[in-house]
């Protein structure tokens, strides 16, 4: 690799930890919920920027979304990426994970890369599907749940993948797609100079005409899954609630545990 080219795919998401439920109607209160770079994706940006520093890599950031998603690309500029592309088109609307992956793969076909980085999953969907699906559509090997990446002298990637029991050490050559964990790559802060410059940099806007993909695979039409219905979670009927001193409380708990044959 002369100059390693990295593309990081990021998503703008509502900060789901800030979403509240209207206790009367049981519906989501979306107003005032801030939009952020999805945390795992931000970890991916950090990994890319570390490789920029250590290996002089060139970093492009790619996002798909409405024009407001420009904000996350500016933030990525402020963190230090070299190029930013916003993928936006009415034809992409209503996409499930596979149709989203088709659009992203369509854009990636028109870009050069040695390494594609995505977050493991997005906090608004938690599906963890887009990374592996993009890898499949581009016929790239994948390593998900990435905790660490090293480049060996012969340009082989040494990859640490998290598992339930510990980790796997894997090896692969470029080009490769990895999905990373936020917990493994603590993102840097934007620097002041970066923030100022971020607003003078050009975000490239790409639509359907800029990418290589069969239109059949995009948007609602290209989505095998459909939402049949969405609903607020039925709240289970509350049991008994008592305000009592510790002595009484312990007595009450003991009685209940006996009734349930737990003790």
């Amino acid at each position: 690799m002369i100059t390693m080219k990295i593309i990081v795919c990021i998503k703008q998401v509502p900060d789901t930890t800030e979403i509240k439920i209207n206790p009367v109607t049981g519906t989501l209160i979306r107003e005032g919920v801030p939009s952020i770079i999805n945390p795992d994706d931000k970890g991916g940006l950090e990994l890319a920027l570390q490789l920029k520093e250590s290996h002089n890599a060139h970093v492009t950031v790619l996002t798909m979304g409405p024009t407001q998603a420009d904000a996350v690309l500016r933030e990525a500029f402020a963190m230090g990426v070299d190029r930013a592309i916003l993928l936006t088109d009415k034809k992409f609307a209503g996409a499930d994970t596979l149709a989203t992956s088709s659009a992203l793969a369509g854009a990636l076909r028109n870009l050069e890369y040695d390494l594609i980085i995505t977050g493991r999953q997005a906090i608004d969907g938690d599906t963890a599907q887009v990374g592996p699906q993009v890898a499949e559509l581009l016929d790239l090997p994948q390593v998900s749940y990435l905790e660490n990446l090293e480049i060996k002298p012969n340009n082989t990637f040494l990859l640490k993948k998290q598992t339930e029991e510990g980790y796997q050490l894997l090896e692969a050559e470029a080009p490769l797609l990895v999905t990373v964990l936020a917990s493994a790559f603590k993102p840097r802060y934007m620097n002041v100079k970066g923030i100022v410059e971020a607003y003078n940099k050009e975000v490239e806007i790409w639509g359907f005409d800029n990418i290589t993909v069969d239109e059949e695979n995009l948007g609602l039409k290209g989505s095998p899954t459909k939402v049949d219905k969405a609903f607020a979670k039925g709240i289970k009927g509350a049991g008994e609630v008592y305000e009592m001193d510790p002595e009484e409380a312990v007595g009450m708990i003991m009685r209940k545990l006996k009734e349930k044959y737990i003790i």
Partner: protein, 329 residues
């Protein structure tokens, strides 16, 4: 796509080092009830090396048929050999439904496979049912557990879904059940094997699995750093495991593998003690299916009291040591 050619409920039988994983048995239990509703069969797909002897275990847990792919290339999980195996099963056998555990393996394999066969995949389902028209209704939490959505995949097959460990109930094991075992010869395309396994390292964190615990003593912000030893003592007395909400995990008091909730694990123990946990939606999403929930919290308006079976408004740091003392007697 001729949908009527596709039938039966298939389960990817995840194994690690030859041990069938708990989530596989849970999926077989669910597959059994779905298949019975449809009048179809349950088929398990078992991939591994020197694994054939495990087929009966899957039949005992509810499978009518087991397709075994036994090959050295399948000894340890790697994306491509497994994706090729499952892809061949789908092409040759035409499953109507394919269920996969939402583990680090299933969440790596599922999407890769769904993109290969160009079908839909619904992640982390908490409920699976058959619609009157015969298709699968897949319900899952969305927006960080704030909403539920029912997803359908009407025009593509197989209808694929992943389910987290601990969400479905196992079928009662019956070792006298009999079933058919089919050996599959996989036609590997080794040119695509581009990721090599150097080593698998266990860090012992697999020893704690809060999804398997019958009783969980769970701590939240109200317990704080100093209260945790008291919960551990109570857990020891009751033969329980300790778990926590995100607050204590973020504070570094408890490790991530003990976290209950949307970004942690889903649990359904017989008894769940929510100690000083206010009950953010992300937390409730991971524990509300518990059989019996005892909540102790200072704040009587805490949302946890809306789902608890027994709620105590009081000081958890006084009640827990006292309870432990009484139980020891």
């Amino acid at each position: 796509m001729e949908l009527t050619q596709y039938k039966d409920i298939y389960v990817f039988a995840e194994q690690r080092e030859g041990i069938i994983q708990g989530v596989t048995l849970e999926l077989l239990g669910k597959a059994r009830s779905l298949a019975d509703t449809l009048g179809e069969k349950v088929v398990a797909i078992l991939a591994g090396y020197q694994i054939s002897s495990k087929a009966q275990e899957l039949i005992s847990a509810g499978a009518d048929k087991v397709i075994v792919a036994d090959h050295i290339e399948l000894k340890d999980y790697l994306t491509e050999p497994y994706a090729q195996t499952l892809n061949q099963v789908i092409t040759e056998f035409k499953p109507s439904v394919l269920l996969i555990g939402a583990t680090t393996i299933g969440r790596d394999l599922g999407p890769r496979l769904s993109a290969r066969v160009k079908t839909g995949l619904t992640a982390d389902c908490t409920k699976l049912e058959i619609a009157e028209a015969g298709h699968l209704l897949m319900t899952r939490p969305a927006f960080g557990g704030n909403l539920m959505a029912t997803i359908v995949c009407k025009d593509h097959r197989p209808q694929m879904a992943t389910v987290r460990p601990g969400v479905m109930k196992k079928f009662e094991t019956d070792t006298t059940r009999t079933g058919e075992v089919i050996l599959l010869k996989v036609n590997f395309d080794r040119n695509k094997f581009r990721v090599r396994l150097i080593e698998t390292v266990k860090e012992g964190k697999g020893k704690i699995d809060i999804t398997e615990a019958r009783i969980l003593i769970s701590g939240g912000r109200g317990v704080g750093m100093d209260g945790m030893p008291k919960l551990i003592e109570l857990a020891t007395t009751l033969g329980a495991e300790v778990s926590a909400s995100r607050a204590l995990v973020d504070a570094g008091v408890v490790t991530h593998e003990r976290q209950v909730g949307q970004t942690g694990k889903t649990v359904r123990p017989d008894l769940y003690f929510a100690c000083g946990i206010s009950g953010a939606i992300q937390h409730l999403a991971g524990m509300e299916e518990s059989d019996f929930i005892v909540a102790i919290n200072k704040d009587k308006s805490a949302p946890i009291f809306q789902i608890s079976d027994l709620g105590i408004v009081g000081d958890v740091n006084k009640i827990i040591p006292l309870l432990n003392e009484r139980l020891k007697k």
